[in-house]
Amino acid sequence: MLVNQFLLLGAFLFCTGVYGVLARRNAVMVLMSIELMLNAVNINLLTFGYLHNAVSGQVFALFIIAVAAAEVAVGLAIILLIYRNRASINVDELDLMRG
Amino acid sequence: MEATGSNAWLISLAVFLPLLGALVMMAIPKEEEDLHKLIALASSLAALIAGVFILARFDYDNAGTLQFVVDKSWIDVINSRYIIALDGLSLPMFMLSLVVVPLCIIYSWDHIPEPGNAKAFLILLLVLATGMNGTFVAHDLILFFVFFEVVLLPMYFLIGVWGGPERKYASLKFFLFTLFGSALMILSFLALFFLSDVQTFDMRILPEAAAGIHSTTAIWIFGGMFMGFGIKVPMFPFHTWLPDAHTQAPTVGSVILAAVLLKLGTYGFIRIAIPILPEAAAEWAPWIGLLAVIGIIYGALGCLAQTDMKRLIAFSSVAHMGYVMLGISTLTDFGMNAAVFGMVAHGLITGMLFFIAGSVKERYHTLEISRLGGLLVSAPRLGWILGFASMASLGLPGLAGFWGEFPAILAAYQPADGLPVETFRTYMVIAALGTVLAAGYLLWMYQRTSFGEPSEEWADTEIDDVGTFEWIAWTPFLLAIVVFGVYPNLLFSVTDDAVVNIADIVAKSTGG
């Protein structure tokens, strides 16, 4: 199987996700970029699982999918909270505190 | 060598009694001011009485060996032990610290500075006392460091809360300067611990155990300690915290600062830095001597530029500590004896001068020299005492100050083997010039403040002369200045054995 290609795909998706988190202004898009990063990890895990002929990679991926769902739920709730208060989900407007 | 049984704990008693007093006072509401003063005085006097017992039981024939040794486990996991002991070198400093605190408490009886709160003020004084007493008797580096640092906080609060208008700046500067030095010092201690033959913080073993440290490394380690102790002394160019701290501190704070705190640094040099790393000390000595004479001249010139009496005395401290450091930098028994004497003398005399400055400030609400005058007319006793203390400070023979300065200068004529003689003789000449300057600024100050008629500003004001509490607090200082001045051997005979031991260590390492 094309192990290297899958790993490269994973790396590419991960980088896209990182770029998305850093560059996107819309909070939902930021959330989706994070999902992209997590799924890039999943691809990696599956590939490595196949490489080592072990099931643990797939098990790990399942865990990540489940946890990511919980994380998204919380994330969307927080975004909703902000949207309700200011009718905008532009992350650049979150500038009360300058970190 | 080990003192027997109960005697050994006398030192710990003297160290921790003030702390005990402070703990008791914490439980008492602050409205009970008189009770607080009583407890504070009682606990510091109790410590002094323990000190008198030590004085009585001290074996003066063996002043060079440690006595009243207590060696108990403390923080085993880092090899730090509770080692407390005294020898002829510690004894005078220890007693000085024990005497000064109760006198300061007596002085504070009706002089609690703004904004009052006798409880907190006295508790801090007592904690300070524990820290100072402990530093002079600790023989474990970590224990020493802890006591050394414990001193810092109460003094910080004394200046920061009860100080003059610039107190915030002054207290912060004091704290940060000293902390910086301590930070490097503790690193040096750790390096010593790991690099010496036996992993120990025991100051009794370290001089031998550290002998194997590579000389370049030793110079760095000494450098760390130099920062720690040198800032505390303070040596030029680290002295800048001192005038600010002195000027802003409440009277009692200034007195303790001058009388005891500055000595923690010089004591550290003689007790720790030099015996443990004698070779590095010899490398550093010419530079220490140089900074010392710069300090002497700079302090003296600084004095001439001051318009504030307290600030002037503070600068004179820089100069006086310069003599002490010059004595130490010769690395000879003669020089170090002079240094120890200078430490005690400076403690008594400058402490006294700060007391007077505090009382003048209280009466005139200013210390501007140009606004004062005619002290001898309006408050003759205060004026005479100021005159006496100034004479002692400029090193008049027959008073204590002379025996600190003169032998230190003399010692620079013949420094320890291996030190550059020419350089030290140059230092000697410069230091001697410094005494002339000292006479100049002290007489100038005395003349401006005390001679003549009181200025118009104060012509109609009734100036009280020395009060009861002032008399009680000051008499021991005045007596001691005379006694040590007339009979210096009283002190030299105690310190000599211990100092000779240290000078021998140096001679052995540089000679062989």
């Binding site: 946890v67 994380e71 009360l96 505190m97 | 880092i78 802890v146 390096a191």
Partner: protein, 499 residues
Amino acid sequence: MFAQLTQFESPPVDFFSLTPLFILVGGAVVIMLVTSLSPRPIPGWFSTAVSVAASAGAAVVAMVLWNDVRESGPYSTVSDAIGIDGFSLFFTVLVSLGVIATALVGDAYVRREHIAAPEFHALLLTAATGAIVMASANDLVVMFIGLESLSIGLYILAAMQFRRPHGREAAMKYFVLGAFSSAFLLYGIALVYGTTGSTSLIVIRERTSSLGAMVSPSELLIVGIALLLVGFAFKVAAAPFHFWAPDVYEGSGSPVSGFMASVAKAAAFAGLLRVVVVALGANEGDWAVPLAVLSAISIIVGAVMAITQNDVKRMLAFSSVGHAGYILVGVQAATAEGMSSALFYLFAYTFMVIGSFAVVSVIGWDNGHPIERYEGLAKRRPWLAGAFTVFLLAQAGVPMTAGFVAKFLVIKSAVAEEIYWLAILAMVASVITAFMYLRIVMAMWARDADVDDAPRLAVAPATAFVVAAAVAITLVYGIIPDSLIEFTRDAVPALVAGN
């Protein structure tokens, strides 16, 4: 390849060893069930009481287990996924104490700020469970699950202050950066898994330490380690990955900030120590220097940024970055002594910081926490000011406090490894940070502050208890640190297989 699935047998589970986890989760379940099923409103103290009782129970069981481990040695359970060793039990105790303190401080806080008490305490308990799982994990999957339970709990806890714009903003920032850093960590985990072929830390250690079986390609392992470091650096708030910390600490409720700065940081350090320092110990050459650099940057950033702040909570946040740097000094030494010094530091810091944030929560929010609001605190509440002074001085590393011993031990471990530059840097920076702590102290004890018309500060008994206990711990372990040092020495992670 899926043959093993058909023969699946559930692994033997030593339930007693997992009791602390069950107790904590059980507490959370009880709180949620009782308060939602009860026909009458349940008073707020009920949730507090359950959380305190559950954490106390967990701590007690951990101490019992600790005795077993000391007698019969560390072991693993659930098919080697959970390790029961001094390390995990140390963190169980630490986290439980942290929860007790936070719950008690939170009690008055949730009432004052009208935050739902049952949710607050239930989330606290689940987050704490996650923290303990992280510290006990012998498997990367378990570690990840622990991390996420901790993080998700904290995201919601941060969002509980949602009535203030600052609170909402903090929650959003914390969530985005938390998830972002989790992804980095996961990517690192995936690469480590890929190169070693196992998610079990025990196996990873075996395979990386025996050079012969060293997996190819090792470059991937290095990248994996680097990503792990980035992920953990985010979690412990080490510079330059700290930028979320000040905003999040500032915007979240003070008890929550205290919890993040203590328990969450401790859990992240536990993960770092277990995964990087122990399991990947053979690759010390790959991570020791980067950790030392992270440590140095954190110390510098923490010191320099802290002194420029004017908001007490932000000062504490930056100082927390600095403290992460100091703990890293012990971690990067990569010796048993270094690790135990890091553990001591974490323990001491937990109480200093929870105590500090407890005081901050008493002072309360009024358009931030400007330092001016602390002026004259000594006149209004002398004991509170005194306690805060102790916490601040302890953080500055003044002797006679646990903070000094902690700094001393980490510096000692660096000097022992002859990493002098870091030791000197750390000590010099500690002087700079002292300036910031002293500014707060000075403000509190300012004698000319006008406090006559200031509102009276209400200090709830539970909060007062926490503050007093934290002061006591800080001072006691500052003067006689022996017992705690020995505890931390026995608490170095073991990573052993089987029962």
